[in-house]
Subunit: 269 residues, 2 copies
């Protein structure tokens, strides 16, 4: 029985207790798991409350990402690594699962290059940002994860990652989860969010796409809306890297992980 | 050469870069270390900014502690486990030290009882608080710490701890550090704060007490001012538990840990 990586989205409408119940139940039945969580929505709220409102930039290639100056990075860490990561660890501990929460900085778990210059488009004009702490995960330290799993600890991971120079980096959580699944040769990657899966006609939930073959992924990039683009991209990377299957599933329901594994949601692979 | 536990106080006047330089240098020379840090002052500022100002309560036995309702606990985690813990990990990583930041929740590292009812005195009246998340560390999981140290990772620990029921608990960082030093049979516990050590006539820094014998500690409880009381109490616990010596030292200077170990500050033991 292989490892299952579960990515829990940062939407506020996900059912955190149902997710924790499901993962704890599977873990107690002997399933090896690695959890990765997000936190975008709460980060936006806290950044607003602390007087440093979230800003988003669009790259010249059309991707939207969070503007991460040093203060935004601190707030990001407060929410992702503080309130949310410790909230998930506590939720698992209360269910008898010995969770350990880590960011990608810890033990250089998620390492990659910092984008030293980000080319963006703002009001139709091209600009270059040089003080942004954004990057992507290229390497996953499986030694630390394996040590934790062998010791009976459930790893609960969250951005930021770390640059090759040792700086904290805002990275996309879905793609970090995909890299983790790949490095751990996971049997499956389950990506939970506030929709039932990939929708052919967003936001019409009845337009759920049930099945995508590995070699058809590129065809679905155009269907993917907003943040879904990075999830589809991550799915492609994970499958090419040897992950058995990737499932986009609903994080608002009871037993969301087991339902995903039994074929609900969008199954890719 | 035994392990050294360094507690870094949560005062904003400590020299974070000097502390990180010193610990990184010692680590790279082969010294085994465990770092514990606080965060009280920044937590007060963030709690204020988020509209949930810090409150402090005085127990009937005269100890002052942070009022930790559920919202205060979240803010506490944001600052201690988010901004500060990841800030320290990043600072060490930038110096080439493979740090791993953990709270006492992670892996049930710091376990103890929650105070279900706290008897306090407010405006001369006695009251009982039942929704407070405060407790103390009774057990330290040395297995996880030893695994990390053997793997070449520097553990960087911070409150909260975890209750026997799996709840996050605000605990005193100095006493948690003392319990950790004891459990790890540390050679020394160095407690860095914004004063040169224990002062006979606080805040007169020229009144530094240079040396206290183990069996004299109780005599110095009356000299200890405010937060120093818990540090002296922790020192006594650590020494009784087998720690070689405890040193209260200045965290505002260059090479603060090496200076402490060479005899600056207040050496107890």
């Amino acid at each position: 029985m292989g490892i299952i990586v579960v990515k829990i989205g940062g939407g506020l409408d996900l059912d955190h207790d149902a997710i924790a119940d499901d993962i704890a139940g599977m873990w107690q039945e002997g399933q090896q798991l690695v959890v990765v969580h997000g936190g975008a929505e709460l980060t936006n709220q806290v950044a607003e409350a602390l007087g440093h409102p979230p800003r988003f930039v669009t790259s010249v290639s059309g991707y939207v990402s969070r503007r991460t100056d040093r203060r935004a990075l601190e707030i990001f860490e407060m929410v992702y690594c503080g309130q949310l990561n410790k909230g998930w660890v506590e939720r698992f501990q209360r269910r008898g699962v010995n969770a350990v929460g880590l960011s990608g900085l810890d033990g250089r778990l998620w390492e990659g290059p910092r984008k030293k210059a980000i080319r963006i488009v703002e009001n139709g004009r091209k600009m270059v940002l040089r003080d942004d702490y954004t990057g992507k995960v290229e390497r996953v330290d499986t030694a630390l994860l394996t040590t934790l799993l062998e010791g009976g600890y459930l790893p609960v991971l969250t951005p930021p990652a770390i640059s090759y120079d040792g700086e904290a980096l805002n990275v996309d959580g879905d793609r970090a989860a995909a890299m983790t699944a790949q490095a751990m040769r996971a049997e499956a990657l389950v990506i939970l969010s506030g929709v039932p899966g990939l929708l052919a006609d967003f936001p019409d939930e009845s337009s759920l796409i049930r099945r995508i073959q590995s070699d058809e992924i590129e065809d679905f990039m155009s269907v993917a809306e907003g943040r879904m683009k990075k999830k589809v991209m991550g799915a492609g990377e994970a499958l090419r890297g040897g992950v058995g299957r990737v499932i986009f599933a609903d994080g608002r329901v009871r037993e969301p992980v087991r339902r995903a594994l039994s074929g609900e949601g969008t199954v890719i692979g």
